[in-house]
């Protein structure tokens, strides 16, 4: 049995039955990492020693606990923008190359308390700014399905690690599609929860009004279990939601009868790769056969989403990244005075995409431009939210492709930021509206690359998303396919 290939719910069951120990499971995962990491570069930092120590402790707890937490003894890969005490957190930036946080983010704190085992910190686009993981200051991660291609981004390291069985489950963050798009590119499941569902405390901020932590998993059940484990109200995060966390796994009934699925016509237009469109339409027909009602809907302001996003997100980022000034931590340039210290530290510490976005955002907030850019974008953002409110009057979920294409080649879009930005065209509006959405495998293109389908739900209605995703997953075996490495 290849232990590393197990899902969370499989591994949990077998750990409980003592078919193997958490140490054996962790060792299997690290064996897999050492076999494949050379080709993939999923991880920036591996924490093998502490992971094995944690596994040993987990085994002690498993011995005495008849009803262990679902994550006890489970090896988890964590995106390198989650602050972790004791393991450096680089955010894939030279600026934070040697930064060790004095505290754990809320999500990692919860993971540790439940006995999960952190395998290491996965690669991402620097400060989560990008759609291919190529903007990492250290190296590009490769797609396990085709190592000449990108794994997507920004949570590309987590997606690749998961698809290659370098972990059992993984964590990502999603500001404009950073969980869903790499999940689609790597053939795994990824959920962006409702804004406010999971604490942002201790996540290195990119765009505060959209950043959201979410699980990346090998199947839908794992995703539901993970969200149960990480969702909570956090008094340390003023934007977190003070409402009960449902038992998401209870919604995995396989029944979709009577559920109304909206298909937004604006998401199936020119630019979409034909086999992506076909796969998603086929999946929708499958759900229809299972008893769901399908309906075309309209999200009329879809065209503006990318523009709005790149104003709001960069404006927030320009301010969020001001703290990287070389004064208290991180990179500090040798300079002759204060101004030069600021300028050189930031010039040397940040990569080109981060600088581009800081400049864009600074411009959008500047006196004389604020009304025309930031304020206008916020108004259009409200219209985009209203589009969804309107649509959800007549449907329970919305289904669309996660990305217009499958994984593209490494280097293919690095010279053209606009082309790169367009790979998030279907995911961005969801972040602007604060809605939950999942991406799950729905087929392969003619080159054998995974295709992702996105299911968007109402605010805090992750349960319905899980129900439909699970029903679809049960009727296919896309999620069981593994890349040949």
């Amino acid at each position: 049995m290849n232990l590393a290939a197990l899902t969370l719910h499989e591994a949990r069951e077998k750990l409980r039955k003592r078919e193997f120990s958490a140490q054996e499971l962790t060792e299997a995962v690290f064996r897999r990492i050492s076999e494949t990491e050379e080709k993939l570069h999923s991880y920036i930092t591996l924490s093998r020693d502490t992971a094995l120590k944690e596994a040993k402790q987990a085994d002690e707890r498993l011995k005495t606990n008849n009803n262990p937490h679902s994550l006890l003894g489970i090896p988890i890969a964590v995106k390198d923008n989650f602050l972790t005490r004791g393991i450096r957190t680089t955010c894939a930036s030279k600026f934070l190359e040697n930064f060790i946080s004095p505290y754990d983010c809320t999500t990692v704190k919860k993971l540790r308390a439940s006995g999960a085992i952190i395998t290491g910190k996965t690669n991402l686009d620097e400060f989560a700014m990008g759609s291919s993981a190529e903007n990492s200051a250290f190296f590009a991660t490769r797609n396990p399905w085709d190592t000449d291609r990108v794994p997507g981004g920004s949570s590309g390291g987590s997606a690749a690690a998961l698809a290659a069985d370098q972990c059992i489950v993984a964590l990502g963050t999603d500001t404009g599609g950073s969980i869903r798009q790499p999940a689609a590119f790597c053939g795994v499941v990824g959920l962006k929860p409702t804004y406010g569902r999971v604490s942002r405390y201790g996540i290195i901020a990119f765009a505060s009004s959209m950043d959201q932590v979410g699980p990346m998993t090998k199947d839908v059940r794992d995703c539901a279990l993970m969200l149960e484990a990480i969702a909570s109200y956090d008094p340390a995060d003023s934007t977190s939601a003070n409402r009960p966390v449902p038992q998401y796994s209870a919604s995995l009934t396989g029944d979709v009868k009577g559920l109304r699925i909206g298909i937004p016509k604006e998401y199936f237009v020119s630019g979409i790769q034909p086999d992506v469109e076909q796969a998603v339409r086929t999946a929708v027909r499958q759900l229809e056969r299972n008893g769901a009602a399908i309906k075309e809907i309209s999200l009329p302001h879809t065209d503006y989403a990318v523009a709005v996003y790149y104003i709001v997100a960069t404006a927030e980022a320009s301010s969020n990244l001001a703290r990287y000034d070389g004064m208290r931590y991180g990179h500090r340039a040798r300079a002759k005075d204060l101004t030069e210290t600021y300028m050189l530290s930031r010039a040397e510490g940040f990569g080109p995409e981060v600088k581009r976005r800081i400049m864009l955002g600074t411009y959008a907030l500047s006196a004389g431009y604020y009304d025309a850019y930031y304020l206008k974008a916020q108004r259009v953002r409200t219209l985009i939210k209203k589009d969804f409110d309107e649509a959800f009057k007549s449907c329970d979920v919305i289904i669309a492709p996660t990305a217009p294409t499958t994984a593209f080649k490494i280097g293919e879009k690095t010279q053209d930021p606009l082309q790169m930005y367009l790979s998030d065209i279907y995911t961005i509006a969801v972040n602007l509206a604060g809605l939950p959405a999942i991406s799950l495998p729905c087929g392969f293109d003619f080159e054998g690359l995974p295709i992702g389908m996105q299911i968007i739900g109402k605010h805090f209605d992750e349960s319905t998303i899980f129900g439909i995703a699970y029903a679809y997953e049960q009727s296919t075996d896309w999620h069981k396919k593994k890349p040949n490495l």
């Binding site: 602050l83 957190t89 955010c91 934070l96 930064f99 946080s101 004095p102 505290y103 983010c105 942002r200 405390y201 201790g202 996540i203 290195i204 901020a205 765009a207 505060s208 009004s209 008094p235 340390a236 995060d237 003023s238 934007t239 404006a315 927030e316 320009s318 301010s319 990244l321 001001a322 703290r323 000034d325 004064m327 208290r328 931590y329 204060l338 600021y342 600074t362 907030l365 500047s366 006196a367 604020y370 930031y374």
Partner: protein, 499 residues
């Protein structure tokens, strides 16, 4: 720039012709007396070792998020209610972006477009009349840390204990027309904050800071002149001096046919002048925008009602009460209530000896004089003053009982201020008790009369002025301790007897 002190004859003539009106608006930053900082749990205690009161949140580490301290909102509402403001049912915190080493996040969380309080006013007493100063807004914000430049030769140091201490910024309309009005406005505002127990009002320690926007315009016109913003005003005196200096500079520049530029100027207390810090062209673009980490501050009517009901007595109310309850003249009542600590001291003294007028006179007379002489009037709370209220009252009681004279009392008062001891102890130790028994006074008088036969004869010859001289001699001989009333009586009797 020409010095404002050097006026030529020509512009002196202009000045006589053209009269100017001064227009002043004040921005006050009041540090709030909360236990913890505005966005984290760190202590606000003053005087800690550098960077001791800090955490990842107030030092701007990656990933941290602010959580608004509810007490700060409550204090802002209290201030708004006490200054007749409208309280916004929903207000927003905004980021003010700029780089400086004492600003850990690279932005200050403040309020911009939707402040918590707007459209208020404060009534300020001015020589028997009342001047209403309108308030534009009151908003909540966090303080920055402190850069320390002269501790180490090769580096500047940063202390972030102050970063995240809650502040209220209180902005007046440009309704103030003179330095006197500015001073009285500041004193009244400070008194209100002290009465509300939300700010200690200490200007020198920086818990009550003031920036002034100053301009002048020809009398009778309404358009605002070019304004300057004055900073580094660390005392009431600095506020007055800096504004006076600026008014003079503005009038002289304009009278000379010169032009003023909009700029920020720093008061230099050593050279007693302001100098330019930055002009408008170099003004920061702070790129304010609503802070996405914080929700709108939503305040319901019920909470406002609760806070309104719990407001303490404010300076105006206390002044009126002092006048009616203790029969104290308006001027004294104003002086006594202008600072909460003084008003408390006064009422505390009354519990020991209920003589409001005498106590009021001693506080506004001797006590204020001594505080001023020792340059303590802006520095200490009167409650920390060595002469405790009960001791002052006890001393006044000794006067009333005839145990010491008013003149001796001044000596006792100085001794109390030096030692902090009770008047009874001081009187006993120094033997200052008034001599009232007729026998010893008579003895002293006999000696004086015997020693001054010529003066006695002169008096008896009709020179009434000699009486005063003789009394003086008696007081001298008794070291001022003779009960003056008794001494007068006996002396008069003796002189008549001798006649």
């Amino acid at each position: 720039m020409s010095s404002p002190r050097t006026g030529t004859k020509r512009n002196l003539i202009y000045k006589a012709v053209m009269k100017y009106e001064t227009v002043i608006g004040l921005e006050v930053h009041a540090q709030l007396l909360t236990q913890s900082k505005i966005f984290c749990g760190c202590s606000t205690k003053f005087g800690q070792a550098p960077n001791q009161s800090t955490c990842p949140i107030c030092t701007g580490f990656p990933g941290v998020l602010p959580v608004l301290n509810k007490k700060v909102v409550e204090f802002a509402i209290r201030t708004g209610l006490a200054s007749n403001c409208e309280i916004a049912c929903s207000s927003r915190l905004a980021r003010k972006n700029y780089f400086y080493p004492d600003l850990p996040k690279g932005y200050q969380i403040s309020q911009y477009e939707l402040p918590i309080c707007t459209n208020g006013h404060i009534d300020v007493a001015m020589n028997g009349t009342v001047k209403r100063i309108r308030l534009t807004r009151i908003h909540m914000e966090e303080d920055a840390g402190k850069n320390i430049h002269d501790l180490r030769g090769d580096a500047s140091l940063v202390d972030l204990n102050r970063a995240g201490i809650p502040l209220l910024e209180i902005v007046s309309e440009p309704d103030i027309r003179s330095t006197e009005e500015a001073r009285n406005y500041l004193r009244t505002l400070r008194a209100i904050l002290q009465y509300l127990e939300i700010c200690d009002g200490n200007m020198e320690e920086g818990s009550f800071r003031c920036d002034a926007n100053v301009s002048v315009r020809p009398e009778g016109t309404t358009a605002l002149g070019t304004k300057v913003e004055l900073k580094n005003l660390n005392s009431f005196k600095a506020v007055e001096k800096a504004i006076e200096f600026e008014i003079r500079r503005h009038i002289e520049t304009l009278s000379d046919g010169g032009r003023l530029i909009q700029e920020t100027r720093l008061w230099d207390p050593d050279r007693q002048e302001t100098r330019s810090m930055r002009t408008k062209e170099f003004a920061h673009d702070y790129r304010y925008f609503p802070d996405p980490d914080l929700l709108p501050v939503v305040i319901d009517e019920a909470w406002i009602g609760e806070i309104r009901a719990s407001l303490p007595e404010l300076p105006d109310g206390r002044k009126a009460r002092f006048m009616s309850q203790y029969d104290i003249p308006a001027y004294d009542a104003e002086l006594l209530t202008s600072r909460k600590d003084i008003a408390d001291y006064f009422e505390s003294a009354l519990t020991t000896h209920r003589n409001p007028k005498a106590i009021a006179n001693w506080i506004t007379g001797e006590l204020f004089r001594l505080l001023k002489d020792r340059k303590l009037d802006e520095k200490v709370y009167i409650t920390e003053w060595p002469v405790q209220a009960n001791n002052l009252a006890a001393m006044i009681a000794l006067i009333a009982q005839g145990k010491i004279s008013g003149k001796i009392a001044k000596t006792v008062f100085e001794a109390m201020a030096d030692s902090g001891r009770s008047p009874q102890e001081i009187v006993a130790e120094k033997g200052l008790e008034q001599v009232s028994d007729s026998e010893s006074i008579e003895k002293a008088i006999d000696q004086i009369l015997a020693a001054h036969p010529k003066q006695v004869a002169d008096y008896q010859a009709g020179n009434q002025k000699i009486f005063g001289f003789l009394v003086g001699q008696i007081m001298k001989a008794t070291q001022g301790k003779a009960n003056p009333q008794k001494a007068n009586e006996i002396l008069k009797r003796k002189l008549m007897e001798g006649n």
